[in-house]
Amino acid sequence: MSFELLIDILIATVPLMLIFATVFAFTTWLERKALARIQNRIGPNKVGIPCTRIGLFGLGQPTADGIKMIFKENIVPTGADRLFHLLAPILALIPSMLVLCFLPLDFPWLNENSVKAFLLDGAVIFFFAITGLNTLAVFMAGWASRNKYSLLGGMRAVAQMISYEIPLVLSAVIVVMMVGSLDAAEIAGEQKGGNWFVFYPWGFAAFVIFFIAALAETNRSPFDLPEAESEIIAGYFTEYSGFKFALFFLAEYIAMFAISGLAVTLFLGGGDGPGLAVLPWLSVIWFLAKIFALIAVMIWLRGTLPRLRVDQLMGFAWKFMLPLSILNIFVAGFAWHAKQLDSQFIMVITWVISLAVLYGAASGLNQLNRGKVRPREYKYAE
């Protein structure tokens, strides 16, 4: 391997690691602040410049957390499988870091000839293949801890992630159908100039399904059953402390960025946005801004919605999202054929019809799945 190639590889990969690790620290602070404000609290506001009382809105909190995590004792329970207990957080981090390379980020210092972190024309399919490993890591952590709460969390995680993987992939399939390519850069290129897929009814439905499934895949609230604090302590990472816990935490957030990045690529036009013709490097900014917008919505949802029950979670995946995403594939197929006719009028008709079909199907499924809600009955009173 030549020296220049090594430099090229470093130039392509190191910024990714640096940007997302920094952004991770900032996001934890942002999330705590936002959640606090939603709950009428102040949030972290004390940790600023050391040895003074300058708070800086608590911006020192991520650093303090990091220092604490590194110096904390690494506790492994008696009877735990030490090797897998160690491997699980690493295995959780690697896939989420790896898939960052597929995001079509056009850094200004990368030119035509430089090595891209990954140039793979099957990026989308590879993304799902790699993120699937996350389930294994979570279950490994639950199994290796030799703790009933951890095992329960691991089992919940497996059930949840496998169920929600299907609507996730099926909604991504629609975009692949429309573009005819699995290459992330090509998918983003197809949506140049405001032609984002989210503006079509089938694209919007797919985006919503994708976003909900992404919440479940990354164990975010309201689908945070694997780590439900009030039910099973912290689920699969009950027995983790110190830096291993920090790795899990990091992996979870990086996975959030990665899956938001994929959602941006598939539905929100990648790096597309105003001002690109004048300043091409703005595309990176747009891309990161869109990721951040999605993350903000995730935080907002976390502050709003209560956790689902296990049966509601499974029912939602199999009885609502799966039929809807399969129907959406058919709708998108018809839309694709209508597009071949190349007529403005037919396009508009398709737009309206597909919107009506999808909304009707969604509310029909909603009505079918509606549980009976009764007021609470008292057994002994009255």
Partner: protein, 224 residues
């Protein structure tokens, strides 16, 4: 017909209002009190921000809004608590309590006759989930929620068990912490009492009328 997923948007609007309001309308949307003012000369540096001077309670009416509910209390109508206590030890709340944290024993006088008040009324703080179901089911308006939240104790066995005498609070105290709710409850009790009395009066009236009628009929019979 409501919009699909409309409930989620409604909830998100509420949280957004809280989020933005905490910056603009601090009085209403950010009731958290920052105790760092204590450190500005009042206390030596390094002392924490939740200082407790001896006997100081944060959970009084000045720091807690009137909508705060934390833990049940037993109401009495003033005077000697056990003479005016509203609870009759019917044990409905004990049986209805989801985590079963209430324990009640009835009170008996020396002849073994049941007097309508509890001899023992314990609630376990560590088990109570503040669901307020006991308040909803109580037919006597005897148990309501208190806003006191500083219940921590160094004794994790006895200290976390609230005894009857700890739980007894006067109706005046209830009016002080939850004025709106207490007024509504008093009005409800008064209305119920009035309705009951009216019914009683009507029944008495009816009985008297019937008796009179009977008497006149009997008199007629006699006259014949």
């Amino acid at each position: 017909m409501s919009i699909l997923g409309g409930g989620i948007f409604k909830g998100m609007a509420v949280t957004l209002r809280n989020f933005l309001g905490s910056y603009t309308n601090k009085k209403e949307r950010l009731p958290t009190i920052d105790y760092s003012w204590r450190a500005d000369g009042a206390l030596p540096q390094g002392i924490g921000d939740y200082p407790k001077e001896k006997g100081e309670q944060l959970s009084d009416t000045t720091t807690v809004t009137e909508y705060s509910r934390n833990f049940p209390m037993l109401l009495h109508d003033g005077g000697e608590p056990m003479d005016t206590v509203r609870c009759v030890a019917c044990q409905i709340c004990e049986r209805e309590c989801p985590p079963q944290c209430i324990y009640i024993e009835k009170d008996y006088d020396e002849n073994g006759k049941y007097i309508k008040r509890p001899a023992v009324f314990d609630i376990d703080v560590s088990v109570c989930m503040s669901c307020q179901i006991c308040v909803e089911v109580c037919p006597f308006d005897a148990i309501v929620m208190n806003s006191q939240f500083e219940l921590s104790t160094p004794d994790r066995f006895g200290g976390l068990l609230m005894r009857r005498d700890d739980l007894l609070k006067s109706n005046d105290y209830y009016h002080k912490i939850h004025p709106e709710e207490a007024a509504a409850r008093d009005a409800k009790i008064a209305a119920e009492k009035a309705a009951k009395e009216a019914k009683k009066k009507a029944a008495a009236e009816k009985a008297r009328a019937a008796a009179e009628k009977k008497a006149t009929e009997a008199a007629k019979e006699d006259a014949k």
